[in-house]
Amino acid sequence: MRFIYTRAFGIFSACVVVVAILSFMQTKGILDPIRVAALQSPRPVIILVENIVMPIKNFFSTLYQLKKIAQENNQLRSEVSTLQQNLTQYQQEALENDALRKELGFVKNTQLSLIPCTVLSENAFGLTDSIILNCGTNEGISEGQAIISQGYLVGKINYAGKNSSTGVLAISSNFSTDAAISQTGVNAIAKGSFGSGIILDQVPQNALLSKGSLVSTAGINENIPKGVLIGEVSDILSSGSDLFKRAALFSPIDFNNLSFVFVAKQ
């Protein structure tokens, strides 16, 4: 305990007492002006040092973060790719939804017995004039049955497998069916015409045929129900000297982009 009598202990004790007094003064807020001055006093040094250090720190910080930035970049690229895929899917689903809504409008208002089918293979680029459906004999499909979309005749089944079937489109030159002009009930033949649309042929010369006349199926063919719309007369192709009248039919259906169709059961 000899150190108690030393000068160092005396100074130390005095300092401790001063600290106690200063602490008391601080609690009373007496030291606040000194505190403000003390906080401001090293400011010039801090600013000077920071001005030198910060650019160097930023440089090395950027270098250090390059790897992280590259990783983030890769991750973001991956996310963008996923989102683009999702967007494509959503757009596809929106289109399907749109097509289904149109089909639903027709289904609600018809008395026909319909089998819903998805188009597996579209008539891409209009090259084949045929479509492949995901339903076959298992679902009740048979050859010759009418394929309908949004209430319009779009073709007929020319091959029916167990689980899939092939249909020839109404715009194909291999397609033909009986037809009737709705206004007069005169029978005729509707047939495809090498990708240029549907032609109404074999209309008697004395029959009334004008632009805008609606043409539907006549019901002569037992596989194709009567009264299914084929299209409307858009142009009269024959002249007065021809044996029969011919007309071009307009169908609002996009034959190259069919997604869902119905096959009509008799």
Binding site: F3, R7, A8, F9, I11, F12, C15, V16, V18, V19, A20, L22, S23, Q26, T27, L31, I34, R35, A38, L39, S41, P42, R43, P44, V45, I46, I47, L48, V49, E50, V53, M54, K57
Partner: protein, 176 residues
């Protein structure tokens, strides 16, 4: 005059501490240049200037800290006083990096212990609404020691320079 120089050095060191090392933290720790400077002055065994430096260094740190006032001043004073007792009464050693490292570690442990005890005391007395737990001090002690150890030699050179500068100044004033 020398006390004025010490005061300027203390302000410069705290400015350096904040300006430089606040931007170069290791595990949230920065070196305590003021403590190192006080320790070096204490090891000189010539006078009691280290009390002045420790007192004002602690006071300035207390103004900057959010803890209850007086913790740093008291801990600095305790550290330099214990160090003074140790090197003057108990220990005979040669100043090398091993001894300095050991003294640094001991000083940091003592400083943090006093800070913790002081915080606990003022908390128990109802003078402060919060105190920093021992676990927080313990968790920071190794990185704090490591960072202080890195600047140990530069600070030794700086303290040596300051000592020689003040000695020269005193000699000139005495007419030598």
């Amino acid at each position: 005059m020398k006390y004025f120089i010490y005061f300027i050095i203390i302000i410069g060191l705290i400015g350096f501490n904040i300006g430089l090392f606040n931007n170069l933290q290791i595990y949230g720790q920065i070196p305590n240049l003021l403590l190192l400077f006080s320790i070096y002055l204490c090891l000189e065994k010539k006078d009691f200037d280290f009390f002045f430096v420790a007192f004002f260094s602690g006071l300035l740190l207390d103004f900057f800290a959010t803890n209850f006032f007086g913790g740093y001043t008291l801990s600095f004073l305790v550290v330099v006083f214990c160090l003074y007792l140790l090197i003057n009464n108990l220990l005979v050693f040669e100043l090398n990096w091993q001894v300095l490292s050991l003294l640094l570690l001991g000083s940091l442990l003592l400083m943090n212990s006093v800070l913790w005890l002081y915080g606990l005391l003022v908390f128990k007395l109802g003078l402060s609404s919060e105190y920093i737990g021992i676990k927080i001090y313990a968790a920071g002690i190794l990185p704090e020691f490591f960072y202080n150890w890195i600047v140990l030699y530069p600070m030794y050179l700086f303290s040596d320079f300051v000592k020689k500068f003040i000695e020269n100044l005193s000699a000139k004033r005495r007419g030598f």
